[in-house]
């Protein structure tokens, strides 16, 4: 039997997980200086390499009271053997847990709860965003103590970068045996951007003991407020009141949002069309036993019908680009002060097809039927326009286009869209009495149609391909679930590879 040594608990082991470019190195340097200023021996290592180009990076530090003799410290963290883990982004906290660096018996996990989405999350044609709440839940279980709040926005608001607020949270956590003043002294010694860093540090420090309340979620959508001349507002109110009176409670707020959207898109008359179609669907819904299903058919129709009716034509884009509220929003987003001059350049590329859509149906159809003419016209339109919307010429042009709203119902695009909507609603109406859930899913498939030009055509084709499975699914009890799966597959990738696979599966389903 040999002599055994008690495991040295004097070593403080600290890992920093960051994304390349977040300043993880600055934070590691600060901790080193802080420790050395407090009579500690500090060893820090990192593996930046290629990961510093926006990839996941890790820094590792060991701190131990300096007793004059050089200690032997590890150059990398070991699972189950880390005291403090700092994650500069929520998913990086998740990564730290996956690596085993966070353990319930000892690890203080300091994580910025903000998200920097990975490319894989951003590029999905649908909603590819990872579930943050899942990571937070596990982080709570996995750690001895979890400190998680949005340190990125604290830094931004203070005009600093996240390393400063992370350092503040580290100080606030009291996980290191060093006084607050010493932390602040470290920042001061760094010089550059000191004041802003100290501010971010201080806000984050305080937030550890009193985390800022989470932002109110979208549980209570505010009733959309409409603005305009009093006589039109009065009409609008009549319309909303009448519709509200007819609708079941679960549908009301969605229908109000939908109604507001279509009126904003076109006019009151268009809103009446919307209300008419919705009432029609409600009647069918009631006949099909919708009451037992919370009127899902009407609710989803309220949502997707509004989106379908507000198709993205040139008029809508011109309208959106020329509104006063938009000018104000851009100024605010760009943080332009009153003394600064702001100019705005749009990048537009309408093709002949979109232009034809904005012509009266008869004329547009006539041009369409003359391929030679199209060939001549095409080069006139098919090129990028860099439009200065704050200038006289382009603003006037777009303003004029937006003013074509009055004649929208006579234009080709409206005819095409209206026919499509009618066909889509008819399909749902046909299905509702036989397979209610499938009818609801058919309504939801409208989500697939979005975007402009090629993107729009691709969406339309996905919509058609998904709905092509309806005859097969109609007699099936689980038909709705299959249609949902098809829709989700269609939103996974651009080319529709996942959708093709899913369609093949559906084709092989036993009747």
């Amino acid at each position: 039997m040999t002599r055994t040594f008690s495991e040295d608990r004097d070593i403080i082991k600290l890992a920093i997980l960051a994304i390349g470019g977040q300043g993880g190195g600055v934070l590691a340097d600060w901790v080193v200086h802080l420790a050395e200023a407090n009579g500690y021996y500090a060893q820090a290592t990192s593996v930046p390499g290629v990961a510093q180009r926006t990839g996941a990076t890790i820094y590792y530090l060991e701190l131990v009271p300096d007793k004059g003799r050089t200690p032997v410290l590890s150059l990398m963290p070991a699972p189950g053997d880390v005291d403090v883990v700092i994650a500069a982004e929520l998913m990086e906290a998740g990564r730290a847990i996956m690596r085993g660096l966070v353990t319930p018996n000892r690890t203080t996990l300091i994580a910025s709860a903000h998200r920097a989405y990975a490319v894989s999350e951003k590029m999905a044609p649908g909603d590819g965003i990872a579930d943050a709440s899942k990571v937070l839940d596990i982080a709570r279980q996995a750690s001895h103590r979890l400190i998680a709040f949005d340190m990125e926005s604290i830094a931004t608001r203070s005009g600093s970068v996240i390393s400063a607020s992370l350092f503040g949270a580290l100080a606030g956590s009291r996980a290191l045996p060093f006084p607050r003043e010493s932390f602040e002294e470290t920042i001061r010694a760094g010089g550059k951007g000191m004041e802003a860093s100290l501010k971010a540090f201080s806000v984050a420090f305080d937030a550890v003991s009193a985390p800022p309340p989470p932002r109110p979620g979208p549980e209570a959508p505010s009733v959309p407020a409409m603005r305009g001349p009093p006589e039109l507002l009065a009409e609008y109110e009549k319309l909303t009141d009448a519709l509200l009176a007819d609708l079941p409670p679960g549908v009301k707020s969605m229908a109000m949002a939908g109604l507001a959207k279509v009126v904003d898109f076109q006019d009151l008359e268009y809103g009446r069309d919307y209300a008419y179609r919705l009432r029609k669907m409600l009647a069918l819904d009631e006949d099909s036993g919708g009451a037992a299903r919370d009127y899902a058919l009407t609710r989803e129709t309220a949502k997707y019908l509004a989106n379908a009716m507000c198709y993205d034509d040139i008029i809508r884009v011109a309208d959106a680009k020329t509104r006063g509220s938009r000018f104000a929003r851009v100024r605010e987003e760009m943080k332009a002060s009153d003394e600064q001059v702001l100019t705005v350049t749009e990048f537009m590329h309408p093709r002949l097809r979109e232009v034809l859509g904005s012509l009266p149906t008869g004329l547009a159809r006539w041009i369409e039927s003359k391929p030679g003419l199209c060939r001549i016209l095409n080069p006139l339109f098919d090129r990028g326009r860099h439009a200065r919307t704050d200038g006289f010429a382009w603003f006037s042009l777009l303003y004029g286009l937006a003013g074509m709203r009055g004649m929208r119902r006579k234009l080709l695009r409206h005819e095409v869209e209206s026919a499509h909507i009618a066909q889509w609603l008819a399909e749902a109406e046909r299905l509702a009495p036989r397979n209610y859930d499938l009818a609801v899913e058919v309504i939801r498939c409208r989500r697939l149609i979005k975007g402009y030009s090629d993107t729009h055509e691709r969406g339309q084709s996905k919509f058609d391909r998904v709905l092509s499975a309806v005859p097969l699914l109609e007699p099936r009890e689980d038909g709705a679930q299959w249609l949902k799966r098809l829709r989700e597959a269609a939103l996974l990738d651009e080319e529709g590879t996942a959708l093709d696979g899913a369609l093949k599966t559906v084709a092989t389903l036993e009747a």
């Binding site: 085993g100 990975a118 600064q340």
Partner: protein, 713 residues
């Protein structure tokens, strides 16, 4: 000028004897070179030794004062060849690079150098890019040491030992007339620690003196019959001399209580990991004091037979801790034990994995198992008990997305690959030979472009076999770094000579960007110590390239797309070269940001651009992201019950490079993007025009809102 400046840190290189140095491993190595009278240093950048090159570049004034010459070599081969100055002259020289990739490139010169031998100390400092954070194939530099007979030092990973290894390395090299390789792992390169400095030394003989009284000796040149003599000399003289030196200077260390009946033999670089495992088992203290017998190989080649055999004497079992494969050390030790008829049980691989990095957990598991099976009496009850399995959270693996490296915000290479994507949509997918450099990120989402990478500057050469009649042409991508490293001859010359009918796209971002933004021949920067501004297209034409197109603003996606399309479809035979030039945004921002801030502060008129997305125009299809992947172009969820999918959004880090707008235009995506130009300190004309425009616009807006219903937002 490199991405990171060490101008402040290099002041520590001047400190004298007895003063304490605190800083990064790389800086410590530089200091050690100066303390040991190095006469010249050459190298090629690449993680993990990029900073060594940057430190040396930032320290050139200090080096000059000491009479030390520093070369930023064109390649590792050039750096290795520089060591020729130590063949006939008693001048110490050092060369450095990323390994094993750099050693591959350098091996021609290294083999020649090692054959003839050296008079002055020749030290090759390799940054061993192995394990986590590595960007290259996982191999060992050890093989190069063995094949050319270069001694290999693998010191314990702390600054004191690394600094000592530099000193030992030069002396060992001189004592055995053999170049010495000093292996420093990734983490050690970036290790913050301390050591007590010595005074810097001027080189014993200056390069000037050597040049002015040249020497030669035919027997040092690799040509028969000298080459045969060299081999004999290696074995009969240099090897024994090295063994004597290593033993007498006790370069390898014995620790612990040598009476123990088991022991651990390790590469020096593994020492801290082994000690941590022993600390966790209660077998070592904070300072590494332990009773477990340890044999630490600060020199991993050559191995010292009698040191090892005496360590194993009276031991039942030894554990060899040797990271990576093949297990050269274990094989050699096995042979030694067998030949000596020893009965000691040799273990190593098996307890520890044959392949992969020896992380904290791997080391702990391997060492604990060795003790449990061969010396349980060393262990406390806790150590003997099997480990509780760590809790794992499988849901996390499904939720947490991968985060591979990618193009930075505003990177000029992004629009090049966006254009390639657009070409792909028109002309179908092509075979794309990739190269080494930032542009290799194209192989990952969202671009997914590039089939192979065969080495630095070898992208075009990797398409050589496809020089046949076909309906499609091959495309090769190569960076400016790779172009000057190897691509000019192996890529351009090779393509011209063989009349290759393919497309070569040279990405010229004005720097060796992936390695940290060092200057190269075609850099546009003024560099008082180097000759820059040599256009790549002149070099291509000089080699006989005739179809050469240069694009000066890669952000012009339409132009990029058209150039590529033309290159792929033109009737002209032979290689088609496209040089796509725009400055690396990381470096450009670093250069310009302070200047712009100062100008704004001084009241000068300045225009800053940023992009934005109109959230009510964006439909959330993310086609723009699939052609970008820019960190600044992200998504956000709207507080709108009618919307399912998050819309695109651009954050404050946007540098206004223009890619978003150009892509939206070229790919005919959508009209959501806009560029906002903020004029700081506007002049009279700006203000007046803005006032008039605003008047006009608000008048029309008010007119319309008086006649319609609109949502307040």
């Amino acid at each position: 000028m490199a991405e990171r400046s060490f101008a402040k840190e290099v002041q520590q290189l001047k400190i004298g004897a007895g003063e304490e140095f605190r800083g990064e491993g790389i800086l410590a190595v530089t200091k050690a070179l100066l303390e040991n009278g190095v006469g010249y240093v050459a190298g090629y950048q690449g993680a993990p030794i990029s900073h060594l090159m940057d430190v040396l570049a930032d320290a050139e004034d200090i080096l000059e004062e000491l009479g030390v010459h520093f070369e930023a070599s064109a390649s590792e081969a050039a750096a290795a060849a520089t060591l020729a100055a130590s063949v006939h002259y008693p001048i110490r020289g050092a060369a450095t690079w990323k390994s094993t990739v750099g050693t591959n490139v350098a091996s021609d010169a290294l083999a020649n150098l090692a054959s003839g031998g050296v008079l002055g100390g020749a030290l090759i400092i390799v940054g061993e890019d192995y394990g986590e954070g590595s960007s290259i194939m996982q191999e060992r530099s050890h093989a190069f040491a063995m094949k050319s007979q270069i001694w290999l030092l693998d010191p314990r990973p702390n600054l004191e030992c690394i600094v000592k290894a530099v000193r030992d390395g030069f002396e060992l090299s001189e004592a055995s007339n053999t170049p010495v390789m000093l292996e420093i792992r990734i983490r050690s390169c970036h290790l913050h620690g301390r050591f007590i400095a010595r005074d810097n030394q001027r080189p014993a003989m200056s390069l000037k003196e050597a040049l002015e009284s040249p020497r030669r000796a035919t027997e040092r040149i690799v040509l028969p019959p000298a080459s045969f003599m060299h081999e004999q000399e290696k074995i009969k003289q240099r090897w024994p001399a090295a063994v004597d030196f290593i033993k007498s200077r006790k370069l390898n260390e014995f620790m612990g209580d040598d009476r123990g009946r088991i022991g651990i033999v390790m590469q020096g670089g593994m020492y801290n990991g082994v000690i941590r495992a022993l600390q966790r088992l209660g077998l070592a203290d904070l300072y590494g004091d332990t009773e477990v017998p340890l044999y630490v190989l600060n020199v991993t080649y050559p191995l010292i037979d009698d040191e090892f055999l005496s360590f194993c004497k009276d031991k039942d079992a030894v554990l060899i801790v040797e990271e990576g494969q093949p297990d050269y050390l274990e094989q050699a030790f096995g042979a030694m034990l067998y030949k000596a008829g020893a009965r000691t049980k040799l273990t190593g691989k098996g307890y520890l994995p044959m392949a992969g990095e020896y992380t904290g957990q791997v080391m702990f598991d391997g060492v604990s198992r060795f003790f449990r099976e061969h010396a349980p009496e060393y262990l406390s009850d806790r150590g003997r008990a099997p480990n509780a399995p760590p809790v794992s959270y499988p849901e996390l693996a499904k939720t947490v997305p991968m985060r591979p490296p990618g193009f930075c915000t505003g990177c000029p290479e992004r629009p090049i690959f966006a254009a390639m994507k657009l070409v792909e949509k028109k002309l179908g997918p092509h075979h794309v030979g990739a190269d080494i450099g930032c542009h290799l990120f194209s192989i990952m989402p969202p671009f997914n472009i590039g089939a192979t990478t065969m080495g630095y500057g070898l992208g075009p050469a990797s398409n050589s076999a496809f020089n046949v009649e076909a309906g499609k042409r091959p495309i090769a991508v190569m960076g400016d770094g790779g172009f000057w490293h190897n691509g000019l001859a192996s890529g351009v010359g090779n393509a011209v000579f063989n009349k290759q009918d393919g497309v070569v796209l040279v990405v010229d971002n004005h720097y060796s960007a992936a390695t940290g933004g060092q200057d190269i021949l075609s850099s546009r920067a003024d560099n008082k110590r180097r000759s820059t501004k040599h256009p790549i297209e002149d070099a291509i034409r000089g080699l006989g390239g005739t179809w050469v197109k240069r694009i000066d603003r890669t952000y012009d996606v339409g132009k990029m797309r058209d150039a590529l399309t033309e290159a792929l479809t033109t009737a002209e035979k032979g290689p088609k070269f496209i040089v796509a030039s725009s400055e690396c945004m990381l470096n450009r921002q670093r250069r310009e940001k302070p200047l712009v801030a100062k100008a704004i502060g001084d009241g000068k008129r300045m225009v800053k651009s940023r992009f934005g997305v109109d959230e009510d125009v964006c439909t959330g299809d993310h086609a723009c992201i699939r052609l970008s992947g820019c960190p600044s172009l992200s998504v956000k969820k709207l507080d709108d019950p009618l919307r399912d999918d998050p819309v695109a959004a651009i954050d404050n880090n946007c540098v206004g490079c223009g890619n978003c707008g150009e892509v939206a235009d070229a790919a005919v995506l959508c009209p959501s993007f806009y560029r906002a130009d903020i004029i700081h300190n506007p002049n009279w004309l700006d203000r007046t025009l803005a006032r008039w425009r605003a008047k006009f616009v608000t008048w029309l807006q008010a007119r319309r809102s008086a006649r319609r219903l609109a949502l307040t937002s």
